[in-house]
């Protein structure tokens, strides 16, 4: 099978973790690992793995437009707003891992086909990736979904300055995503940073107010969805529910990361990266089978 050529812009911990996942994938090939500082830990790691590195930022892709067909952007919202039009012009697929989110919200287990039709997709938020499949299942199986609320809890150590300065964006994006995929009339997202040691894995609790809760139906659909999710996020698990408690549907999901480069408790960061890889692999699978490699 022909491998999809990808580049990663953003050589921090997230970009480096993504790189390791790309290298492991039979469908993807990393042609460039791009950042701003050749001596950063990520760049050094990439070099040691034999990957081409560059400190030229987006210019590298402008100078070498044939190097890749898909770009993972793990930089910042501001930078992605600069990169997106350039990538569009160059006809590159863009997977946006920043808070910019100008393209389609994508959850591989839920809207795969729609996502494949787009050239700029984003992975929403960690809480979104963890809870939207559940919200979607609720939307599919319950009548009159009045309200969905998601409370995400992540290890304090997994939330860097970028997360902390963008809590409001996180909340809004997650709420929008929940509404979009569940059809709920109202949604609410809450984010807790838990400083407990040892570090806690990511957890998301989904509450739903629906007219006549049908748990067996929900369980059935959820089971199928979770199986799909675990194909690309092996550490995803429903640890409670679905049950009805205090007049509302409650489901609790836990995500443990793969620990490729990020610590294993950072399931929140891992689920985004896993989802991004899953989408890239789907783009790869959709490549025309005929024609030789360039």
């Amino acid at each position: 099978m022909r491998k999809l050529k990808v580049a990663i812009i953003g050589s921090g911990n997230i970009g480096t973790d993504l790189l390791i996942k790309v290298l492991r994938s039979p469908l993807l090939e990393c042609k460039a690992f791009i950042g701003r500082n050749l001596s950063s830990a990520g760049m050094v790691k990439a070099s040691s793995l034999g990957v081409t590195v560059s400190a030229e930022g987006i210019d590298y892709i402008l100078k070498n437009p044939d190097c890749c067909d898909l770009v993972f952007d793990a930089t910042s919202a501001k930078s992605h707003l600069e990169h997106a039009p350039i990538l569009k012009k160059l006809n590159k697929l863009a997977i946006d891992l920043t808070p910019a989110k100008i393209g389609l919200m994508s959850v591989p287990s839920v809207n795969l086909t729609d996502s494949l039709a787009e050239s700029n997709i984003n992975m929403i938020t960690c809480g979104g990736q963890a809870s939207i499949p559940v919200a979607y299942a609720i939307g599919q199986t319950q009548t009159d979904v009045e309200y969905i609320e998601v409370v995400s809890s992540i290890a304090s150590r997994s939330a860097g300055p970028a997360t902390r300065q963008n809590l409001d964006e996180y909340i809004k994006t997650t709420e929008d995503g929940l509404k979009e995929f569940s059809g709920a009339k109202r949604t609410k997202a809450i984010l807790n940073l838990n400083p407990a040691e040892p570090c806690v894995d990511m957890q998301a609790t989904i509450f739903a107010k629906v007219k006549n809760p049908d748990i067996p139906k929900l369980s059935e659909v959820l089971l199928g969805l979770v199986a799909k999710i675990r194909e690309y996020v092996p550490g995803y698990e429903i640890i409670l529910g679905p049950i009805v408690e205090n007049d509302r549907i409650v489901v609790m999901a836990r995500v443990r990361g793969l620990g490729d480069y990020l610590p294993a408790y950072a399931g929140n960061l891992d689920i985004i990266n896993c989802a991004a890889i899953a989408m890239a692999e789907e783009y790869a699978r959709a490549l025309p089978k005929t024609g030789s490699d360039k």
């Binding site: 902390r164 300065q165 807790n192 838990n194 407990a196 409670l240 509302r248 609790m252």
Partner: protein, 341 residues
Amino acid sequence: MNDRRIIISDPTLRDGNHAVRHELSVEQIAAYCKAADAAGVSIVEVGHGNGLGASSLQLGEARTPDHLALSTARANLTKSKLGIHVIPGFATIERDLKPALELGVDVVRVASHCTEADICERHIGFARSMGVEVWGCLMMSHMISPALLLEQARKMESYGAEGVVFMDSAGHYLPDDVRQRVELLASELSIAVGFHGHNNLGLAIANTIAAADAGATLLDACARGFGAGAGNTQIEVLVAVLERLGYSTGINLYKILDAADLAEKTLMKEVPTIKSVSVVSGMAGVFSGFMRPVTRIAQEFNLDPRDIFFELGRRKIVAGQEDIILEVAKDLALRATKGNQ
């Protein structure tokens, strides 16, 4: 040491909401605001127990939505300032803080768990840019050392907070703990220091006095101690004690006693007392606001609520993580059945 002026901030209508499942009504808000205003309380804090935008299934849905609570309070406060408690992660600037400021809020207290001050940067910055008085609040402060508390307080200071309040959310402190922290913060920060006490171990007044003596200039207190768990520092008692100690609060003693009488009659189903479960949560250092869900879930799972509290304390669960209580109960119940086999 020379200036004996103390600002009293009264969260009866905010912390007290915890005690009544956030069901304070427009009428109750109006009535107490009038009484507190007449008594000369500096700041009256109003809202859901967990602050602006916190009405949720996770934390309990408020009977009176934020905008109504705040507009009612605003209409009934003339001399007293209207304050709100804001936790980033629950409240957003666009959806919650901006509209609140438009309703006439005077004081914004941006709060985080004691180790997470940096999530407050943007909310503090926004409130500052809107010209209102901004304080930083560090919750569950007993969970870190004084040195680390100072580190977090310094962050708040750098973001533009005019003062930092550290909270004894679990009612865990002894007076010496409070004195040590206030002394450190007061000597190292150039902004004001405040203290918020809870009464689980019967020490709220003593702790608050220790704070004042060590240099705190803002103290939180509620009518009859109306608040989460075992309740807060009792405002009418505090005013009396502060008067005896030669501090000036600007509060009229008789009128605050009247306000407390009114609060007892109008706001609460029962006056806060220290129940056994509160002693345990105070000792375990767990957020007082967990009392209701823990008691309820303990019943459901046929467990001793005290065991759940100690386990939550052991896991260092923070406020806002009520969903973990279910998990803990499941775990304990499983262990109990295994033990019986």
